[in-house]
């Protein structure tokens, strides 16, 4: 396919992707500081679940959900430093869906119950695709927020 590059993945085989779909994490993610580029993989049968695939480590693929799905009333609390790093206005919180996409990473525990890290969501500037994991400095939201009926949703 013209204009499409390919990436190796452990779970999905070789995948074609568009360069402009890549999320660019200049500082990586905590515990994965060398992984700076991820592609979001969506598939209709898993919706709204999203796979965040590392482009440099085929075996590293996160499960994520849009924050609105996990916590519809969620209030963003991105610190000034992170807003600046994302090239966003530093004096206000950005608007969901128009300016930024906000995703939460999921951990599936034994028994397939899942939790989402609402304390540190992934924030993507939709214009530049620049992204980072924005760790809140307040303690309003849990780093292990339960996501009930996760597998039913996923399947």
């Amino acid at each position: 396919m013209r204009g499409m590059a390919q990436v190796e993945t452990h779970y999905f085989g070789t995948m074609a992707y568009r360069e402009d779909s890549v999320f660019d994490f200049p500082d990586g993610l905590p515990a994965f500081v060398h992984e700076k580029r991820f592609i979001p993989i969506e598939s209709p049968q898993h919706s709204p679940l999203l796979f965040l695939q590392s482009m440099t480590r085929p075996s590293l693929c996160f499960l994520a959900l849009p924050i609105q799905v996990v916590a519809p009333e969620y209030r963003l609390g991105i610190c000034r430093e992170d807003l600046v790093a994302l090239d966003l206005a530093a004096d206000r919180q950005p608007e969901l869906a128009t300016e930024v996409a906000v995703l939460v990473l999921l951990s599936v525990h034994d028994g397939l119950s899942a939790t989402a890290n609402l304390m540190a969501p992934i924030v993507v500037n939709l214009k530049t695709r620049r992204a980072l994991q924005a760790i809140r400095q307040d303690s309003v939201y849990s780093h292990q927020h339960p996501v009930p009926r996760f597998m039913e949703q996923a399947c």
Partner: protein, 75 residues
């Protein structure tokens, strides 16, 4: 947990070589200074929690039962 009341400018010592000084206190929070040996790892707790959560999240797809579920999804 040991709870101490300290004013700005006052310090506590932990062991022989770690000093934590309260530099300033405002409605925004407390500003603290830490003196510790270079090899001591000092992290905001949220960052440590996020590192741990990310490590768990990074292994989530590799879990056996989840891989089975994924196979079901692919089929």
């Amino acid at each position: 947990m040991l709870v101490l009341r300290r004013r700005a400018g006052e310090s506590v010592l932990i062991g022989d070589d770690i000093e934590i000084e309260i530099l300033a206190i405002s409605s925004q929070g407390a500003k603290i200074g830490i003196r510790a040996p270079r090899e001591t790892v000092i992290l905001r707790k949220e960052l440590k929690l996020t590192q741990q959560q990310n490590e768990a999240a990074g292994q989530t797809l590799a879990k056996k039962d989840f891989e089975r579920a994924l196979e079901k999804l692919r089929a």
